[in-house]
Subunit: 390 residues, 2 copies
């Protein structure tokens, strides 16, 4: 087990009506709040009105900034920073999913910084201060509600880059599973693949003697496998929605990764795919992760046998471990397909004519190695994209 | 799943040499520290010197208060409060196991309170302020290093009472698995039973649709079952010690219990046993918990089948669930015995002539009900003590 430092200050308020706590929780951090959100969904569902009423009841002043798009844009972040400074807001309340939260986190670290916020993402500066961020979560997926990181897209070159700092954990996250009843099945499934992938990135470690973390990862995955089909078949099944929503947080609050090297190659490989084609991140992960597994399992076959047996209950073939391993990967593909996701490029109607380009970009012309389980160069990444063809 | 609020601010610094961070972490909370500890163990091992040097290097002034005994005493807590006020200390650093940490937490809430600290434990007051508490952990067991509670013993009547508040979470916990190499096998085993029981108290819930929590609890238990015999057989096996140490924290940092009703009857039943006889808390739990399980399983046989199958890998008898259930309980007893713990009163040389008295005291003369899985009165508790006879 590796040495580690872990802290997670995010206060979770979970359950029916959690969004009604917005006023009380926000009031602990200031008097003027920037209400940050995406499109009309939270207006149509009445969520925005309920949150606004809660904030007003607590005596808070509200400044609004909507319009966050999936893959949140740097231009809106800059606009938010200017607005927050001009209005002297004390905190930012993100109402939405991962994109809205990431946008809010980026505004929050940008406000007290004298330079341009992109400096953090370009590796030119480290955040030393932040405005507090609160969250009303509407989509269980990215885990951004209690994570240390954010991803923004710079329209200049359409570069999608992440930045992380413990400062970026939201101060509070209000999580009402009922708010996810209206999520379409496909979006629910994409969120499920995203959280599942967050666990897989931590599970496939080269670190030795990490049994507790393994067991916790396996438990979280088994729970997701059990609950996701139910959440999709019965969108208003509170228990299934609640377990999935909480799983999204547990998957990415950092606890499952302590003491382990993590991988994250599949995320990088997927990013090229969703940047190139109009594909949801979760759907891309459902395609890339099984292919990555097929490419790398020889690096540590025992861990892949353990995955098959413990996560999917595969009957172990003790004489032919490869059979067990491949059956485990097949079951993962089955799971993704069962919840309505593509697991190959052709499932997603993506042609195979740009694989070389994507492999080159993912590795910056073979100058970067991706992941730590098996560090991957350009030809490896190309091999994985080819396996994505099915 | 029940609605819940969860936050855990404790910063964990885990790994080799973690205690060397004492100065840096303490300095974030003030200039003058009360170094609180038990007996000579931390002196003999050189730990006290290393921590002192780290504090001094960070420019901190040190006031010392040793002498914490197992089942920490109210008199020493009061002495600590007087000392901390007189010396105007800014924070308390507990170096030791659960008793030292609980004593430190009690001093910390007592200092800013104008009344007597026992008021909190007697249910007459709620803590509204606290001095910050830091921890250098030496015994993985109680989980107090990141929990919200403390237990103290009032010598006036030898009442052992707990109190809890989110204010009581330590601000930081420094956890070096190497510090546990010198723990005797029996003490290691008692710690293991304690952390295992912390998970069981959360696992046996009446709440429905708590699959994620179930799986996380099961994973943590399976990991402890796997690592504990190794930690005892090879006291300097870093990986086994590290997994056990981290399991003690995970078991009791609150995360495994969110959204569930918890039980805690077995803890109350055990408290009478260790108060009446000179028995370690963990050893008492190894006796009481299997007996409690035998007494209550008919309340929710399916959950006990799940425990047997998922935690101990019992081959399920689909036609006779009781066989599966009893085999699960038998395996738990086997596990406790394998690590050197008693599982019956006679194993621990405890006579059976005070069972009625203990049942009366545990339930305050049948005026109190214990637990929530199956609320227990005096005759139930007596029935459980009888099952403890083996």
């Amino acid at each position: 087990m590796l040495d580690f430092t872990y802290s997670n200050i995010t206060k979770i308020v979970f359950g029916r009506g959690a969004e009604e706590h917005a006023g009380k929780e926000a009031a602990a951090w200031g008097k003027k709040v920037l209400l940050h959100y995406g499109g009309g969904h939270i207006v149509r569902t009445g969520l925005k009105d309920r949150v606004t009423a809660s904030l007003q009841e607590a005596g808070l002043e509200i400044v609004e900034l909507g319009g966050v798009q999936p893959n949140p844009r740097l231009s809106l972040v800059r606009q938010g920073i200017a607005l927050a400074r001009e209005e002297r807001v004390d905190l930012i309340l993100a109402v939405g999913g991962g994109s809205v939260i990431d946008s809010a986190k980026s505004i929050a670290i940008g406000v007290p910084y004298e330079g341009d916020v992109w400096d953090f993402y370009a590796g030119k500066a480290k955040a030393r201060e932040t405005l507090p961020v609160g969250v009303v979560l509407t989509i269980p997926a990215a885990g951004s509600e209690s994570s240390t990181s954010a991803v923004v897209t710079n329209e200049d070159g359409w570069r999608k880059v992440g930045y992380g700092s413990v400062l970026m954990r939201p101060k509070f996250a209000l999580m009402n599973p009922e708010l996810t009843y209206t999520l379409p099945a496909y979006q629910t499934a994409c969120g499920v693949a995203d959280m599942f992938a967050h666990i897989l990135e931590r599970y496939f470690t080269r670190e030795d003697h990490v049994g507790l973390g393994d067991h916790l990862c396996e438990g979280a995955m088994r729970s997701i496998i059990q609950e996701a089909p139910q959440a999709i078949a019965e969108p208003e099944n509170y228990g299934a929605r609640a377990n999935i929503m909480w799983a999204g947080t547990v998957a990415h609050n950092g606890l499952l990764g302590v003491g382990r090297s993590e991988d994250w190659a599949s995320h990088a490989i997927e990013h090229e795919l969703s940047a190139m084609y109009d594909l949801a991140h979760g759907a891309g992960l459902a395609i890339v992760f099984p292919a990555w597994m097929k490419y790398v399992y020889r690096q540590d076959p025992e861990r892949f046998v353990q995955f098959a047996v413990r996560v999917f209950g595969v009957e172990q073939n003790f004489h032919h471990p490869e059979q067990t391993i491949l059956e485990g990967i097949r079951r993962l593909e089955d799971f993704f397909r069962r919840i309505g996701l593509p697991t190959t490029l052709s499932d997603a109607n993506i042609p195979a004519d740009r694989l070389e380009d994507m492999a080159e970009m993912a590795t910056a012309g073979d100058t970067k190695r991706l992941g730590s389980f098996l560090p991957l160069g350009q030809s490896d990444v190309l091999g994985i994209y080819r396996l994505c063809q099915g």
